[in-house]
Symmetry: C2
Subunit: 128 residues, 2 copies
Amino acid sequence: MTDQAKAEQIVDSYLCCLSEGDLEGVVALYADDATVEDPVGSEPITGRAAIAEFYRGALAMGIKLRRSGAVRLAAGEIVFPFVCASEAMGAPMEIEIIDHFVLNAEGKVQSMRAFWSEANIRPMAAEA
Amino acid sequence: MTDQAKAEQIVDSYLCCLSEGDLEGVVALYADDATVEDPVGSEPITGRAAIAEFYRGALAMGIKLRRSGAVRLAAGEIVFPFVCASEAMGAPMEIEIIDHFVLNAEGKVQSMRAFWSEANIRPMAAEA
């Protein structure tokens, strides 16, 4: 498998596990001492236990994620654009996000940073 | 002007100047001691003179750039997806790239990192 194919597999597993509510599957992508900064500028959280807690909150919102462009891989770092849809706030909405993963030697995510702000949130026009 | 609007202005100026061959316009977006790492994993170059030299080479290839998704701004950092088209290699091709800009207090680009690899290069199907 090429490095690109491996990177796409990690990204698609991430989006799929989050969309299907598979908390263990998401956490398994991370290194034991990984950090998550979501959104960029917030205090990073560290370690699988804290990361599981973070995603438990996200999954409770019934989010659905879909990739919206190519996975870019360079020197063990991955960035990719995606859309996160949720109905948790009463009205359906979407957030346009770009995630940045730094992989460790074992191919686990050592660092995740999510780039988005309120300016990237939009109401959903219609049912998909 | 909102921070988001300022970020979009920086990004659109960058893409427009590169597409129009406006070297001075591109370099003016950068801080004096800025760094450029393109692609991620290559040796970063530092300072406006070296950056101008780098873009002079890129502009010689007659590149045309267009944004392919929303500008994500968080805590003074910007990421955005775009497509870089070129005919310099004989056959028209496109590269799917995500750039990461870190802004300084004056709103100049202090650090640029470009995420792409050969896996993101594709032949162009037809004339635009």
